[in-house]
């Protein structure tokens, strides 16, 4: 039957066909577990895909926090503010100048338990005769609310209140405290007098 000597006349072999088989369930589980592990690994070691982050740092935030710097930022910033605005009258020693500019070092006004009056007099200025640590001084301080932000005022007050080099060691002042008082005193346009300021409650 199939005896035709010409091979091209014989029936051709059928081309092989790949069938389909059900993949085992464990393979899907394995792939899923590997993908999960891989994502976790990328998350831990990828540095957030930031080109600046290298081992041993894990994120940009960690790297930023690790830059060499000095520690107490509010205090250090307050020193800068003090040196640009306050140092002219109150001097680098914090002792002020006799008769006119009151001392900050050892001052009962500066080291008050709550900084309410201090924030007010920095915001709107003060004019008149003031008694500081038993010393009588007459002069004027300009208002600073236009020039200094809440953060500036808070840090400079933190600096003068906590400056142990001057012998002061009162609590810190936060920008929120300054913000609250600035809000309350928004309408005020005149400088305080010491007597008026003494009537204000410290912790308000």
């Amino acid at each position: 039957m199939n005896s035709d000597p010409n091979p091209s006349n014989r029936p051709q072999e059928i081309e092989p066909i790949a069938g389909s088989a059900r993949a085992p369930v464990w393979l899907f589980v394995l792939v899923a577990v590997l993908a999960f592990w891989g994502m976790g690994f990328l998350d831990n070691h990828g540095g957030g895909f930031d080109p600046l982050v290298y081992k041993p740092y894990k994120s940009l935030a960690e790297l930023k926090a690790d830059q060499p710097r000095t520690g107490n930022d509010a205090f250090r910033k307050g020193q800068k503010v003090f040196e640009s605005y306050c140092i002219l009258c109150h001097q680098s020693t914090g002792k002020g100048l006799p008769i006119q500019y009151p001392p900050l070092a050892g001052s009962d006004w500066v080291q008050a338990k709550d900084p309410g009056r201090l924030i007010r007099l920095v915001l709107d200025g003060i004019q008149g005769t003031i008694t500081v640590s038993g010393q009588q001084l007459t002069g004027a301080m300009p208002p600073w609310k236009e020039n200094l932000t809440d953060e500036d005022i808070a840090s400079v007050l933190t600096y003068i209140r906590g400056n142990q080099e001057w012998g002061n060691s009162a609590s810190q002042v936060t920008p929120d405290q300054v913000k609250a008082i600035r809000g309350k005193m928004a309408g005020r346009s005149t400088a305080w007098s010491p007597e008026e300021l003494l009537k204000v409650n410290e912790n308000e």
Binding site: A18, P51, Y54, K55, P68, T70, E165, G167
Partner: protein, 307 residues
């Protein structure tokens, strides 16, 4: 082949994915990197282009296959923190009071002596960042100037191969980048600041055994010319100690290639403080001893040039 399109797509996506991960994404991240400013000296851009001779030296380095035995990448595995007191200020009593809180187990009398002594004073060593920051926070209000020192650590840094890890920025102007993969010799990422004298490198290329008896590095004598001394010795001629010197009437003069290679080695410095690698540069008067290099004594007293 009844699954032809499926196989094609599978291969295509596998290749596309690795292309994205290995070529495209790194290009997005680092492709348009620019020189940054040195954190310590903010007016200085880093990195600088290599000077012309050093750039030619890169080609010599490449052609001699230096990169097959020397890597140029320093690794870093961690970092530690020290707290240093840089200035004790004027109110010594307050500083001592703060130090008492910061340094456990120290007495006031000891601390007073320490504070009166030379600065910078290492207040704390090997602490966490939080402890270091808290200590500085306590010291600063006293008028003292304290600082958190960041010190990179790792096996490579312990060997003295660098002060910090290598980052992409270090290789910005190099074409090609000679990263290397094997470390038969020491890492060269920071060799220019480790051994800052050109003649030291030239002598080492001429005969590595001068500085390291057990060196397996081949001598590169063909980079030098041995010739009879003419009327006067050449100013470039190498100065040997007696053991390795050539005959009395001969001198060894480096060729242009050797000079270029030495200039390239001198230009290999990865010691700028940039944002990616925070570290505190040791002050000259600091007690930190310079790290000792394992493979090359810096003070090669007998061979060092006179100037």
């Amino acid at each position: 082949m009844n699954h032809g399109p499926l196989i094609f797509l599978g291969v295509f996506f596998a290749l596309a994915l690795s292309w994205f991960g290995l070529v495209f994404e790194p290009q997005l991240q680092l492709g348009n990197a620019q020189p940054t400013t040195n954190v310590v000296n903010t007016a200085e851009l880093y990195p600088q282009r290599r000077p012309g001779l050093a750039k030619q030296g890169l080609d010599v380095y490449r052609s001699l296959g230096c990169a097959s035995c020397h890597s140029q990448q320093v690794g870093q595995t961690g970092r530690t923190y020290d707290v240093a007191l840089n200035d004790a200020g004027t109110n010594r009593a307050a500083v001592v009071g703060a130090l008492l809180k910061v340094m456990p187990g120290a007495t006031a009398a000891e601390l007073e002596k320490l504070v009166a002594g030379p600065v910078p004073l290492k207040v704390l060593k090997d602490v966490t960042r939080a402890v270091a920051d808290a200590a500085v926070g306590k010291l600063e209000p006293t008028g003292a100037k304290a600082e958190v020192n960041v010190i990179p650590t790792g096996p490579d840094i312990a060997r003295g191969w660098g002060k910090r890890r290598s980052v992409a920025e270090d290789f910005l102007f190099d074409q090609p980048v000679m990263l290397g993969s094997q470390r038969i010799g020491p890492d060269l990422a920071d060799v220019g600041s480790r051994l800052p004298v050109a003649e030291r490198h030239l002598l080492h290329l001429y005969n590595p055994k001068i500085f390291e008896k057990k060196s397996v590095m081949p001598p590169y004598r063909f980079l030098f010319e041995k010739r009879k001394i003419g009327r006067e010795p050449s100013p470039d001629a190498l100065r040997f100690n007696s053991e390795f010197a050539p005959e009395r009437d001969c001198e060894i003069v480096p060729t242009d290639q050797a000079k270029a290679l030495a200039a390239y080695l001198l230009s290999l410095r990865a010691d700028a403080v940039i944002f990616e690698t925070p570290m505190t540069v040791a002050v000259a008067t600091s007690t930190n001893a310079p790290a000792v290099s394992t493979n090359a004594p810096v003070a090669a007293a007998t061979n060092a040039p006179a100037k």
